[in-house]
């Protein structure tokens, strides 16, 4: 009969209306500034620079090789190499970036810089509340704002950071063994030094 469907529909919406007051599960809205959903492990927004230890200027893993700058599809990274070499995390003398800028208004969060970085120096952040009233100044991040400690990286991407740390520790041990072997003379063959992953350190 005509109108049957309308009555059924009205009953359904009426049930929804009343149900939303008595069954909190129905309301799926997360009231954002007060409530937040935890970010998934794979969440990523914009890149940041990882440093080891306490001093961000000394501990910066970046060696200003400029691969990321060249690979960046929208060309949002700007790097100026330093003139003097400083020891990196292995103890090897390396260049450091004098200037390292990322323009967030240009960056497209593709993660290519992270993938090409041979030093695990640049990683993706999860910070997304970056709105500002100054669209030119505040969206161009400099080295000081980009540098974040390794502990922060562990906090936002625990599994990934642990894997990176293990790899870096292994590399460091290998390099150490190699230098020791070199120092001891060419007669002793270098042992494959595969130590358990050491805690994050400079």
């Amino acid at each position: 009969m005509l109108g049957e469907g309308i009555i059924k529909g009205l009953a359904e919406t009426g049930r929804n209306f009343l149900g939303s007051y008595f069954e909190p599960d129905r309301l799926v809205t997360v009231q954002y500034p007060e409530e937040r959903l935890p970010a998934p492990e794979a969440a990523r927004t914009f890149p940041f620079l990882v440093y080891d230890g306490d001093d961000w200027q000394k501990g910066l893993r970046c060696v200003a090789c400029q691969i990321c700058e060249k690979e960046c599809p929208p060309q949002c990274i700007y790097i100026v190499k330093d003139i003097t070499k400083k020891p990196d995390y292995i103890g090897k003398l390396q260049f450091q970036p004098k200037v390292f800028d990322i323009d967030l208004s240009v960056c497209m969060s593709c993660q290519i810089c992270v993938e090409v970085c041979p030093f695990d120096a640049i990683k993706m952040d999860v910070e997304f509340e970056l709105s500002t009233t100054d669209r030119f100044g505040r969206l161009l991040l400099h080295k000081a704002e980009l540098a974040k400690p390794n502990e922060y990286y562990h906090k936002i991407h625990p599994a990934e950071a642990a894997e990176v740390d293990a790899r870096l520790a292994a590399e460091k041990a290998k390099a150490l063994a190699k230098t020791q072997a070199d120092a001891a003379g060419k007669s002793v063959s270098p042992k494959p030094a595969l130590k358990p992953p050491a805690p994050a350190s400079g």
């Binding site: 009969m1 005509l2 109108g3 309308i6 529909g9 009205l10 359904e12 919406t13 009426g14 929804n16 209306f17 149900g19 939303s20 007051y21 129905r26 309301l27 799926v28 809205t29 009231q31």
Partner: protein, 395 residues
């Protein structure tokens, strides 16, 4: 005490007029009285408009299991204020190709008549701006002016969507004006008067527990439902919101309106809904009369606004439930279902008037209307086996 509370606004107005007359010539008494009534009415219905926009958004949100606006003020109560400020401060863009004068006048032509229509609604005992002998006629005559404004807006904007929306609106409004008025005519037949005040008085009594409301008779119930459906179509409410049709023609005839003019259209639309709901209350739901004898101590205007709010809530509920009709469905519903049923309802009302009181009258009228409803409904929803569509010219 109850009597005093009921007439408190009437008394206040009288006192105010008397006080004002100490300062102005006595010939102004009527003008002053009318102005005071109008001011109160404007404020009350504008406030109701603000409240309704909030309730609508909240209600629709809850129907869709959302919260609705809850950020501005406690429970989002100040949301209408924020909306108002936004509408007032927005840039008023007028298309270069538009007919500037008509484009400017159209929202006013909508708002003025819908407020005029409120003048004949008795919102309480002795609370009506003007008690015209032909109040109902005045209401419908003034209500017809909204069609003009819609077409003015659609035509002057010089936009294809506006024009489509306006043409849909005209087709819809004229089609539904017929059942709207025909279903109201039954009440005039029974009450023997076109005066809205008189129509309410006719429904004021009680027999036992039951009030003498027209909706509690077979012809009244049918008339009320027909009136409500036609009213939804007249006010461009869902499911008859084809003239606006956000998903097809964006906003229909007011696509080229922005800022305050858009707000005026919005206001006009809602006040139109209130006016036509108020008329439904006056005609079928007993106006300002109480639903039960022992509730008569509650002031009359409280009843009117309670009934109005429940009708608005019903319209919001329907909006949250039904999808928009198609144009051909809209037309066939008006002409093949609403019109015949309202004509049969006229017959039922006539029979009710002349048959002797008792169960036979009830049974006869109910059966007649039920048979008509089922028969017409069946013909409306019948599936015609149209077969595959063939295109003669397009291929």
């Amino acid at each position: 005490m109850a009597e005093k509370l009921d007439q408190i606004f009437v008394q206040a107005k009288h006192e105010l007029v008397r006080w004002l007359l100490c300062h102005v010539p006595g010939a102004w008494a009527e003008v002053l009285s009318a102005l005071l009534s109008i001011a109160t009415l404007l404020v009350a219905f504008a406030a109701l408009f603000a409240l309704t926009t909030l309730l609508e958004r909240k209600g629709l949100g809850r129907i869709q299991n959302r919260y609705g606006p809850n950020r501005v003020g406690p429970f989002g109560l100040l949301q209408p204020v924020a909306d108002g400020i936004k509408a007032l401060t927005k840039e008023d863009v007028v298309p270069r190709a538009a007919d500037q004068v008509v484009h400017f006048i159209a929202p006013l032509v909508l708002v003025v008549p819908v407020f005029l229509a409120l003048a004949v609604l008795p919102v309480g005992r002795n609370m009506v701006v003007v008690d015209l002998d032909a109040g109902l006629l005045f209401f419908f005559a003034v209500g017809a002016a909204t069609e003009l404004s819609v077409f003015m807006a659609g035509w002057s904007s010089r936009n294809k969507y506006s024009l489509l929306g306006a043409m849909r609106a005209i087709a819809q409004m004229i089609s539904y004006e017929v059942p709207l008025i025909l279903s109201a005519v039954t009440v005039v037949m029974m009450a023997g008067s076109l005066s809205t005040v008189r129509i309410v008085e006719v429904q004021a009594g009680f027999s036992g527990w039951l009030p003498h409301w027209h909706v509690l008779t077979p012809w009244g119930l049918a008339g009320f439902l027909l009136f409500l459906i036609a009213a939804a179509a007249e006010a461009n409410r869902c499911p008859f919101d084809l003239p606006e049709g956000e998903s097809e023609i964006i906003a229909g005839y007011y696509i080229e309106y922005s800022g305050f003019k858009f707000a005026l259209f919005f206001l006009g639309e809602y006040i139109g809904l209130f006016a036509v709901s108020g008329l439904a209350i006056t005609l079928f739901l007993g106006g300002w009369t109480a639903p039960l004898p022992f509730l008569q101590w509650v002031p009359s205007y409280v009843w009117f606004f309670l009934k109005l709010l429940s009708l608005i809530a019903f319209f919001i509920w329907v909006r949250g439930t039904l999808p928009r009709l198609r144009m051909d469905q809209l037309m066939s519903f008006a002409w093949k279902f609403m019109l015949p049923l309202s004509l049969i309802n006229l017959l039922a009302a006539g029979l009710w008037r002349f048959l002797p009181e008792g169960l036979t009258r009830w049974a006869f009228c109910s059966l007649l209307l039920a048979a008509a409803y089922i028969g017409l409904g069946r013909s409306l929803v019948q599936r015609r086996n149209l077969g595959r569509r063939t295109y003669r010219f397009a291929e």
